[in-house]
Point group: C2
Chain length 202, copies 2
Amino acid sequence: MIHEGERNQSAFILAEGWACSFKQLADGERQIVDVQIPGDFLGLRSILFRTADHSSEALTRIEASEVLAADIFDSFAEAPRLATAVLWAASRDEAMVVEHLVNLGRRSAEMRMAHFLLELSTRLHLVGIGDRTGFDCPLTQFHLADALGLSAVHVNRVLRHLREEGLVTFQKGHVAFDDFFGLVALSGFNTDYLDQDGPLLR
Amino acid sequence: MIHEGERNQSAFILAEGWACSFKQLADGERQIVDVQIPGDFLGLRSILFRTADHSSEALTRIEASEVLAADIFDSFAEAPRLATAVLWAASRDEAMVVEHLVNLGRRSAEMRMAHFLLELSTRLHLVGIGDRTGFDCPLTQFHLADALGLSAVHVNRVLRHLREEGLVTFQKGHVAFDDFFGLVALSGFNTDYLDQDGPLLR
DNA sequence: CGTTCGTTTGAGAAACCTCAAGGTCTGTGG
DNA sequence: CCACAGACCTTGAGGTTTCTCAAACGAACG
């Protein structure tokens, strides 16, 4: 959908399915920057920049509406509030990346996993998918490894440990929260960076 | 200047000096998200969100001009291109955070350090400070540790090793590149995410 | 019925951390 | 001028986390 280094890319709004954005390193390693779920903007940075600085990939079959760069810029002239709204969306995106940065920089593997699953759950809940008991998740352990800066082997051990501790069970594409608040306590998860109730439109 | 959790914060444009934005964890650990140098926007996210999701701190004596949220939003109505420019600035900001994320997730301590110093050098050069031989830098090893997700002790060892390898010398507030291209090769540094030559204004 | 993809487990190694102790430099008050 | 405090840097020793390599297992699929 979006390829790092290519020019004149489009942005999309994801209507159905999951995708992820990532950066690939020269040695073949990759870092997943964010996961997109229905309702999310996809590739906004790649239209503002001449060349895309990241890649995107579908994780499931997806439905998305293309958003042309020209349409966005034109709309700013007609509806300034829309500019504020788009800026807000970009900022919320950045806030999530920042939280992921904190995750990688200052939390242990288990805290990272707990935090990641809780963020996903919260975001999915906002668009009406899943609940506090769990959610369906198409990510493999390899995806989790690339997102959390871990090896796939270690991801497996971390998941086993969280399961044995009675906190969360991630098997066969389903995340089941066995102790939601235990997970929150473990990870130090705080929804402030997600719970913004929309752009300030005066 | 900006405090996580507080409301109705202002944004600034840094005219002189250095600052950094960071997030503090419950256990006292902190993660530096980004360093701001002259010319950088500071706290844009904290005016779009009702409450600031991060804190900022001055690293030197600084001079900055306050930018009122209302002024920004009002200007969108009068000059739609300004909206595009601000959105572009926010996106460049995000691109840097993304690159830091890759740094923490997929690079070794030495590559992180090399990448970080090269990014700083490149950004400083863009505003006319420092050159390929080095630059003055007010960051302590504690700051580097908080930025790179390492312990201060390990930062010290990494710096020593890079110095012994003849790559870079960071002492007494000055970074001296002993082998600029060796550092670039080590870190896999690529300026694409910084070199955007300004917003696309048609 | 073999292949592929994802998961699971073990064993040993590497990277990084914590604790602890000194060292250097700078500013400050006596 | 000297003693002292505080901030920062440096080094050692030992411990923990996470990685790599290797092997095997199960489910899905042609």
